[in-house]
């Protein structure tokens, strides 16, 4: 989305333009509404929700549901709120993102600048791994994690996310390093720099944008994962998404919608925040990764 291409050749008349804006605004409403309603209703007392109109602004503003969702709501058997699960997610996401990004960067570097026989084939194998339905690995993974003593633990989940994120991070870095001039690497070789020094002193200093992409992609994917969390975690390692689902689906007692919404927003907050701060790079990088394959 370069600034140079704003000069579009297509010209539109006044009526068409009005219609364009109308449709665009309508869709903006469609995308905003569900989340906005969730936010509004998360600061209402429960009686206003069950008895009133979901579109109405709260008459009684209350942050009680947020406090409850965070600290005291009943999840599973304990009234712990989402707090411990939030930290579980953090403890899982940070190392998984870091490791998969570092490995992806190194893989991309090798696959573009140190090519060898069958490297395309190897890359193909890695890329294909991005697209497998995870159901095919659920059973063996449960088995292996059990055997390795990692079942139900955060390190186990980190391992899972690193493995299944590696294809994407490798793809991103490979696409990015592909256009990094190979002559620079050759010049550095003649200058006497070795494999790691070339990476460290040449490639890495100019990898900022793609690191951002890889980190955001991995962060959102891992944070938002439900399947692996639900399959391989126990209380000490259950991530936020699983806890939220437990909170929302729990059949005991009154359905406290306002608390559910507060919880859902809490679960969405980190990725939304990342998206708002760095979303522009994300989309740009995603394009480079997906359109060009």
């Amino acid at each position: 989305m370069s600034a140079g291409s704003t000069d579009t050749a297509v010209r539109t008349g006044r009526i068409t333009r009005t219609a364009l804006y109308l449709v665009l605004l309508l869709f903006a409403l469609f995308y905003l509404l569900p989340f906005a309603i969730m936010v509004i209703n998360s600061v209402k007392p429960l009686s206003e929700i069950t008895g009133g109109n979901m579109m109405a602004l709260p008459q009684d503003w209350t942050f009680e549901p947020w406090v409850k969702a965070w600290a005291t709501a009943q999840i599973g058997v304990d009234p712990t709120g989402l707090k411990p699960y939030f930290w579980n997610s953090i403890k899982m996401v940070v190392p998984a993102v870091a490791i998969s990004t570092i490995l992806g960067a190194l893989n991309g570097y090798v696959l573009t600048k140190w090519r060898f026989k069958y490297d395309t084939l190897i890359f193909g194998f890695m890329l294909f791994a991005c697209f497998i339905p995870f159901q095919i690995v659920l059973i063996p993974m449960a088995r292996i994690l059990g055997l390795a003593g990692l079942a139900g633990s955060t390190p186990g989940l980190v391992l899972v996310h690193v493995v299944y994120g590696l294809g994407f991070t490798t793809l991103y870095f490979k696409n990015y390093y592909q256009v990094f001039p190979t002559e620079l690497v050759r010049a550095a070789q003649i200058d006497g720099a070795g494999f790691f020094r070339i990476f460290w002193r040449l490639l890495l200093p100019s990898s900022g944008p793609i690191i951002v992409v890889s980190v955001i992609w991995q962060f959102t994917n891992i944070w938002n994962d439900f399947l692996f969390g639900a399959s391989f975690a126990d209380f000490d390692s259950q991530p936020m998404t699983v806890a939220l689902n437990n909170l929302v689906q729990s059949s005991t007692g009154v359905k406290e919608y306002n608390v559910h919404f507060a919880g859902a927003i809490l679960a969405a907050l980190p990725t939304l925040l990342v998206y708002i701060v760095a979303g522009r790079y994300f989309v740009r990088g995603l394009m480079a990764g997906s359109v060009k394959g």
Partner: protein, 371 residues
Amino acid sequence: MSFLTIDNATKSYGSVEVLHRVDIDVQEGEFLVLVGPSGCGKSTLLNMIAGLEDITSGTISIKGKSMNGVHPSNRDIAMVFQSYALYPNMSVAKNITFGLEMHKVPKAERETALRDVAKLLQIEPLLDRKPGQLSGGQRQRVAMGRALVRNPDVFLFDEPLSNLDAKLRVDMRTEIKKLHQKLGTTIVYVTHDQIEAMTLSTRIAVMNGGYIQQLGTPKEIYDTPANLFVATFMGSPSMNLIPVKILEENGGLVAETTNGLGETIKLPFATPPAGLKDYVGRTITLGLRAEALTDPDGADSKAVNLVTVKSRVIVMEPAGSDTFVMTEFGGQDCNARMRADVQVAPGEDVDFTINMDKVVAFDPETEDRIV
């Protein structure tokens, strides 16, 4: 023993051989240019000398020591790349001294070397800048500085001028030549530009299709091209090629062809190559440089054997210093280089003087020069 020896070097990718048994000896202080069209293998050969690509068979040695399997940084070579390959995140000074740093040269020494090179190339004011802030010509200088600072045995240049605009290219060409004369270093230089090759080199290797077509001094290459490929690739405008029939007349050899009016003309050889006798009665290809085909007043006064014939002017192109006149011999378009103020017009029949001292003859089947 030569300084840089390329002995029977071959390069294959899988089953495809892209470079066939190349033999070149380069003496110390020589400026060797590898020239040829793209895909001829010249860059591959340069990369093999640098150690950036390995050798499938044969040897490359520097100062009598085989370089096969020796890491690029241990070959005592330096290279200037087409894109300059300056490290974008480092200052000019860092770019130049990076190689010394990698070779663990002490800081004080690096500083001295940097200052010397910067002075030599007149880039002192640029040392703190990043490559992104430099113009094309400045980048070119920095890239050369990075190579010079290492004080290597052999300099390798990979089309270093092709990214510059026309005027800057000519300036930098002169500068590289000056530098070579001043420092007397051994240089291997790759280009596809035959003028660069002619002006810079002490010797030229013309390459095509993975073969060395001819290895010789610029004069040898220009005056006595080994085959039709070299004859047409080197020189601008390219050599005129006229089909002629060889006849024996009065004990001498004569080339018979037609002029632009359709009349038969005869061009006697003064000193025909020995092998030409075998072609009597057959048709060969006669090679004639544009400057050996002129107006009578513009002909080389030192020439021994000048023949003047009539032909018709098809097109004339004034180029300022000369006027190029196109005519026809033997049914082929031929370029004549005439004096700037020659008075001719298209359609006119004028006198053309051929310098028969300079003609070369090619076997039309093997395409090799008849010697």
